[in-house]
Symmetry: C2
């Protein structure tokens, strides 16, 4: 067994796909709402129906807690989020979406939907399920072993 060319590995193609998807998404949502990022939109989606703590959201969007602190600060300043101290546990920060955030989100939803459809055009349901399974295997492999 020899050392594979780095550009021929499966993991390289994962990176390629996600970068292409991010570029498409960012390009398209910027047309609708300039000045919001793909990740910020994802955070709004997650908070749309229920409030969550900052750490919960960070885990869901795979962000480092330090990054999350800064992203939240920006989102609060843009009037997308409200951040308050959790009364049950004062260490925690409760995040909720603002009215403005909801408005923005409604404007963005059709485009988010469209981006997904464009990305997955011509990919069958079975194909997608299969990819999903394989990716989960990889994720679990990486998380369990060191």
């Amino acid at each position: 067994m020899n050392f594979k060319t780095p550009t021929n590995t499966a993991l390289y193609s994962i990176e390629e796909a996600i970068k292409a998807y991010r570029k498409l998404s960012q390009h398209n949502i910027s047309q609708i709402v300039p000045n919001i990022t793909v990740d910020q939109a994802l955070i709004l989606l997650i908070l749309e129906n229920n409030d969550k703590t900052q750490t919960e959201v960070a885990d869901m969007v795979f962000k480092d807690y330090a990054s999350m602190t800064r992203i939240v600060k920006l989102m609060v300043s843009k009037d997308y989020l409200i951040k308050t101290v959790d009364n049950q546990d004062k260490r925690k920060a409760k995040l909720e979406i603002t009215k403005n955030g909801k408005t923005i989100l409604e404007k963005l939803k059709p485009m988010i939907q469209r981006n997904r459809e464009v990305a997955l055009n011509n990919v069958s349901h079975e194909e997608l399920e299969q990819m999903y399974k394989t990716l989960n295997k990889i994720t679990q492999n990486c998380k369990s072993k060191k």
Copy 2:
């Protein structure tokens, strides 16, 4: 058709997988060579056998040219790369790996190999090929349409 929960989309699991893999890789190569990033190691691999221009490398590792400028600057200062003006076309920057870079790379290779094996543990060849095809579809979809 309704709006899918963002955390249940295929693209979310792509993101999850690549982040888990990056974390594993960075953790493990840092044990061998502190102070080098996964992407820097990938750049060394790409330059191992042939010199390339800065833009060529940037395209291969999916980096923005501005980012590439800064990454290269760091890698030159760490004595991983030599950067010279291309004599045929003086706009171009020729990148080549240093002797030190090669030494580092040899030290890292077994771990890079191991990371790939860990990530792909229990993933069959057919499964991998299938995922590769699906990912390529997604990449092409994102690149062609707007």
